[in-house]
Symmetry: C2
Subunit: 309 residues, 2 copies
């Protein structure tokens, strides 16, 4: 009954919230902007996470962050006070690796990204390499013509890449001119606001946009909002979307992901998207966009802990 | 009567071609892919250019290339055998500079681009600066937070930039968070194919796509297909669109530009777009796209000289 209503949980009675929470078996938490803000924990979320777990919910962290592996995400989560374990961390890097392993991919990956992806690929015995930092030490024409391509490359995988530059763009595009080479992206996340005046740490989205523009090829995005992210726990019977709540801070990834997987959704105002963004969608009059209106909204997760304690 | 018909000029009688050419007073030539292919002249086009000039047409070179200034383009044109002069070179760099001068822009430009743009800006007394090559010598978070912005910057201008990288992306986005700062692009050109297997020298398009994605702002593109490019010669009475033919190799820029300015258009098959691309547009069933079907087509410009000699 709350579907795409953006109901403020604080406007419901405690009894009504508890009744609803009683129907939820699993809670999926996005990480950046929900559980932590760069290196700082978001206190209300850490409390809510641990309180929900103590109340018997199965909590997962589901993140498009590709800078560190699932092990790295676990380490950070524990250091910030979250009670969880490796089996409950799902990342876009893992999703990409799982996709290639599922295809029995035997070739090499040219990775435009960080160690978060290369480690997950290696964990599933998939060979990847990066070429960075790669200088443009000759004319662009000579660089492009003289570029040696590895004939064993079968896929380009793109995530956040701090070393991305024009030589990498040319290299990726040169591979992608061969239509048999896969073009995979971890997530279209534009980045994450930090500090004052909305400065941004940039994500994989802008890099994918650049490669897409020059190559005229569409990437397959395997992080949120692709429901592929939940393939393994759903097929193992660990997650039932009908009784699962996704808590996220970004409409285009988290709330769309909840819609694509059939989970319920809660937008929290501690990260990228705001109620203004929800209003924009509602005012757009675009039916296709309306699925990105969340079921619930909270400015922060404090009320969850309060209601359960 | 030939509007958006993609008529192959070779299928018309010599008399019919001469009759039509008799109605043309001005011919606009794109440069890369039409007059030259990197450093090599396209012989049929050089002949056609000079023959048309000898036949009394006013020829202009109208290019989105921003790596060199109009002076540089003139120098190259003359060295490749084209008979022209400075007054008949129109570039996207000049168009950007003209736009800012027309607005009586008094602030500084942060330029994501090459000297072609900075020289044209300087010619119109507009101050610009680049920061390159800029290394990412700390964490992306620290780089972003510690970045010093120049309060005098009033516009970001983007063209092809061989030094483009993540630090530049973050710098551009940090400026663009201030909505009063203009976001101008020279052209959305994805690049230019060279050598075998469609390797590409990349243009400003992919860079603009990356900045657009992270900033969520739309750039004003002042190169082709923006009719602003012809503002000065049209207002000076030097060009009458009705009696002007645009010859180009790229549908999205050149042919669209002809449509936007009300000129006639001829697609030549020596560069980026092919008849396959025209067929794709025709088959798309999208009425908005149909305006990008050229009036005429030639695989190369040889027949123009043959008919006039």
């Amino acid at each position: 009954m709350f579907k795409h209503s953006c109901t403020h949980l604080t406007t419901l009675t405690k009894q009504r919230v508890l009744q609803w929470l009683g129907t939820i078996e699993t809670v999926l938490f996005d990480a950046d902007g929900v559980l932590w803000d760069n290196d700082k924990p978001i206190a209300s979320a850490v409390n809510a996470f641990n309180t929900l777990r103590a109340a018997g919910k199965r909590n997962y962290i589901v993140t498009n962050n590709t800078t560190v592996s699932c092990d790295g995400i676990l380490k950070k989560a524990i250091s910030l006070g979250l009670e969880t374990d490796k089996d409950h961390i799902i990342s876009a890097s893992l999703s990409v690796a799982d996709y290639l392993a599922n295809k029995k991919f035997q070739k090499k990956v040219f990775l435009v990204g960080e160690s978060g992806i290369s480690e997950e690929l290696a964990n599933l015995d998939i060979c990847s390499f990066t070429v960075k930092p790669e200088p443009m030490n000759k004319s662009m024409k000579d660089f492009t013509l003289e570029l040696k391509l590895d004939p064993d490359v079968g896929a380009i995988v793109v995530g956040r890449d701090d070393n991305f530059n024009v030589p990498t763009l040319i290299r990726a595009n040169s591979y992608l001119q061969n239509r048999r080479i896969l073009f995979l992206g971890a997530g279209m996340d534009k980045g994450y606001p930090i500090g004052e005046n909305r400065r941004m740490v940039v994500g994989g989205g802008p890099i994918i946009a650049a490669i897409k523009t020059v190559s005229e090829r569409k990437p397959l995005i395997l992080g949120k909002p692709n429901p592929w992210m939940l393939r393994r726990p759903i097929s193992a019977g660990l997650i039932n979307p009908e009784t699962t709540l996704m808590i996220g801070d970004t409409i285009q990834t988290d709330i769309m992901f909840a819609y694509n997987t059939g989970c319920q959704s809660l937008l929290v105002g501690t990260g990228v998207s705001s109620l203004k963004d929800v209003a924009k969608i509602r005012n757009s009059g675009n039916d296709k966009m309306m699925v990105m209106v969340p079921d619930f909204y909270l400015p922060n997760l404090e009320p969850i802990s309060e209601h359960l304690c």
